[in-house]
Subunit: 191 residues, 2 copies
């Protein structure tokens, strides 16, 4: 049960960070959401909020990377998998009233110039996505350098589309970013 509490804390903070960011989420809110008593936070995360925050970012980022892998894994055709992923992201936005987009983007922007430990956690996640994506694109026959470029452009398109879609409350940006990414990938596959 003790290990369960730690997982619930990470789950709750992950959900709240995604919607409200790091600065906008209080530890009391996280504890209430997790149904955990106050002291348990400092039992499981001696470093307090920043400790929990860094581990939340790494965990949420890892899980989101897995989700991307489920849509565009080696067993499916690459361009079709990416197309499905963007379509799924647009659907999730609609279903959650534009709340659930990238789990770490808000935090990344908030901490990049003020909290080096948290910034590093975000950077580690993005680098893992880039490396994992590059390997997947190479498996489809795209040369390494081109694969890496395409992945970074795709992730940028996705993250920026999330910013626009959430603010505009429209899935149009995510859909258009998906189309652009798929087109680039198909061009690279045809080359």
């Amino acid at each position: 049960m003790a290990g369960n509490t730690k997982e619930r804390l990470l789950d709750s903070s992950g959900e709240l960070f995604r919607r409200q960011g790091y600065m906008g989420t209080g530890v009391k809110q996280i504890l209430a959401e997790a149904g955990a008593p106050f002291g348990s936070l400092y039992h499981h995360f001696p470093g307090g909020k920043s400790d929990l925050g860094a581990e939340t970012v790494r965990r949420s980022g890892f899980l989101y990377g897995l989700l991307l892998g489920e849509f565009a894994g080696p067993e499916v055709e690459l361009a079709g998998g990416i197309r499905a992923f963007f379509a799924g992201a647009a659907g999730t936005l609609r279903e959650t009233d534009y709340a659930d987009a990238c789990p770490i983007a808000t935090v990344a922007l908030e901490v990049s110039s003020s909290d080096e430990e948290m910034r590093q956690a975000c950077a580690d996640v993005f680098n893992a996505w880039i490396e994992g994506g590059t390997a997947r694109f190479e498996l489809a026959g795209i040369p390494h350098a081109r694969a890496r470029t395409l992945v970074i452009q795709m992730l940028a398109a996705l993250e920026g589309a999330f910013v626009l879609s959430r603010a505009l409350r429209s899935t149009e940006p995510v859909e258009l970013a998906g189309e652009a990414s798929v087109a680039s990938i198909e061009a690279a596959l045809a080359a």
Copy 2:
């Protein structure tokens, strides 16, 4: 001098929001930065922080739109202007230690699911950028629907590249996003 204080407050909050976001910036910090006494905030912005916040977003967004227009205005060749804008954004990131990117993106992600007034201010800015950009692209001979699509894809690429570049402390994402955007625009111009 009174009007000057209001402008200084907007300037200070704009700078701080860009680096730390809305939630991470306290009104006392804004006042200290502007060299203004505490009461002046509520004199110029009766609604308090959210009042100042919304006006800051609209003003910062308007000014950033002007900057974009300076780089890619009607008097310069479109693709070259866009290329120069992304190069300038990368240069600014390097010069400011990856602090100065989009003035409203952090705020937009923070407030999109929690503060409707602020979210609307961000949406108004993004819509103005989209409309202004679409008009500029049409002037270069690109049909309306295609122009609008290209602008949204370009803005998404820019915003997402800022997220990655700030977290990774590398201008690579911004540079690659610029290349992708320029290539799309050149393809549309050639069609």
